[in-house]
Subunit: 345 residues, 2 copies
């Protein structure tokens, strides 16, 4: 491997907030620095969980650090997010979430009561998902070298299907389904942070998706790929999946559901809801013959009641993801360079 | 579960650096808050790795966050430490380390070149241990909310022996072996941080222990328990293991090897070398009949050449760990309350 730093140091001498934003700069950092350096077929799967063959069993392994600010937000907190986020990454691989590790990085001066409330929230979230926290680690850093608490959760899930649910299983002709309306998490956190108020009380869509995924899989729907729409939102997820799968996606913008508050907030704040973070929404790729069955199952579950078909997988288009806008114009969907809302997860 | 915070908030309203120090306060935080809240048999194993039964395979799962300051120190850096530390936690459970996840928390403003050098070091360390980094996560926090870089690594290893290598397998009469001299990591980092100089260039003992453990296991030595001597050093490890196993350990202080530089530095700085961190040393518990074989194997490996027997497991003593000092006096070994050296790992 070439030992020269693959990101031009003169242009980017330092890490910027946008290197963590789920956009182009983060993608470049991960692809050119991490994946090229740690090169191996499992890492290259380009999936939120690695799918691992043990001698007899197949497992998924995933990790996420949570640095959201503020620690408590409408609809959740950093601790429940750390459980649901990692459970969702396992669920998106079609794995049954089983075991979690938790690593706390505590800042000197964190209120003991805050920590205890977060632990109680974490416990409740883990119980809801029927996952066990089986190992952990605690570090304390000096005051001013953290931000209250950062949490890493890693998760192990059991893969029970024969076929892999991953970007490489996407096929030409697949329909692309979306489990619900977009942008609630990002807008709720942003509004809370900035002291904005809406007529209705907008809450994060934070939720564990394992049960909904189980309903889909138990029904016999053959899921080719799933992806939860966290940092970077639907837009970034689609671009990443198109690039990894080497296919092209055509998306109908008018089919994408948005609630009124999110739409209004995005207009006022100049945000593109396609790139706003969610914590309880996902896309899935299935064959056209499974479309109706999948939509019925999604819509009969509380976490998928607004599910819709948003697009199709094509073998050839002028760009990885084409968005057919409401007025009929096609535009190329591209990563935003940085992030609209830093530290959203 | 009682929802009242189990640590008295009036006495400890805030997290202190000593809550991360590997001593009594950290033990209390983990036992009373984390383990009681997340209660389950796997977590209660009180081991650095959780031993997990899948339908056919048995795996170990471990996690550690690394917050060491400075990022580069004599004998290593935070990235190689993040690989070896987690590999060692798996090895201590008798697992073959296979797969790692990596979670980066980068501070806005971190030098890109520093990050690249750490990635190269991490790659080299992973290759040396023949482990694959299969999944990862990157977050960026605002300037002043981190300290350059924090790294979490979680690891999965395969358990191939029938018996469990864990504190619960310690037996009365077991001999306690130590793989080498103590305190090099803590003293090297401390000296570097404070600008102290020694006649010889003291380096951290940072090293991956998986190969040495493999040699022991391949030889047929039946290892009852192992523990690497990181934060809190030999002293804290022995107290924790005695408490978890419900046995008592009698340790001969004069048998514990120390190199001259560490002994001198500890005298000058007022440190107790028994509680100084190591990153390439461990204790192991075996039956008396395996003692000679185990010591021979340890001593024929570069990472165990100074291995010695330091004590025995008893059914009854006046305290969990008794240290018979060089002048023949017995003293009760107790956790130090906080930490001698913060952010050592």
């Amino acid at each position: 491997m070439n030992p020269i730093c693959p990101i031009p140091i003169q242009k980017y001498p330092h890490i910027l907030l946008s290197h963590g934003g789920g956009g182009k700069m983060m993608s470049q950092l991960i692809q050119e620095m991490f994946i090229s350096a740690f090169d191996n077929p499992l890492l290259k799967q380009g999936h939120d969980s690695a799918l691992i063959d043990l001698p007899q069993n197949r497992i998924a392994l995933t990790t996420d650090s949570y640095v959201i600010n503020p620690l408590f937000f409408p609809g959740g907190d950093i601790a429940s997010l750390a459980i649901y986020g990692t459970v969702n990454d396992l669920a998106m691989a079609g794995a049954r979430p089983l075991y979690l590790s938790v690593g706390f990085i505590l800042e000197e001066g964190l209120c003991m009561e805050t920590l205890w409330n977060l632990i109680l929230s974490m416990r409740e979230a883990a119980e809801r998902c029927q996952v066990k926290i089986v190992t952990g680690d605690t570090k304390v850093v000096n005051r001013g070298k953290g931000d209250g608490i950062y949490i890493n959760t890693s998760g192990v899930g059991l893969l029970e299907t024969k076929h892999s649910i991953c970007p490489q299983s996407i096929q030409e002709g697949d329909v692309i389904l979306l489990s619900g309306d977009l942008g609630r998490h990002g807008v709720a956190v942003m509004a809370f942070r900035e002291g904005l108020e809406f007529e209705t009380k907008l809450q994060s869509d934070l939720a564990p998706l394992h049960d909904l995924v189980k309903c889909l899989m138990d029904s016999g729907v053959v899921i080719h790929c799933m992806r939860d729409l966290t940092r970077g939102g639907l837009g970034s997820a689609l671009i990443e999946l198109a690039e990894t799968s080497k296919f092209f996606f055509e998306i109908e913008e008018k089919s994408i559901p948005l609630c009124e508050d999110v739409e209004a907030a995005c207009e006022i704040l100049g945000l593109d809801p396609l790139f706003v973070a969610n914590e309880g929404r996902f896309v899935l790729f299935v064959s056209p013959q499974d479309q109706e069955k999948a939509l019925n199952i999604l819509r009969s579950h509380p976490l998928g009641e607004n599910a819709v078909k948003i697009g199709e997988v094509k073998s050839q288009l002028i760009a990885p993801v084409i968005l057919k806008s409401k007025i009929g114009v096609a535009r190329i969907l591209d990563f935003i360079s940085g992030e609209q809302l830093p530290r959203i997860c």
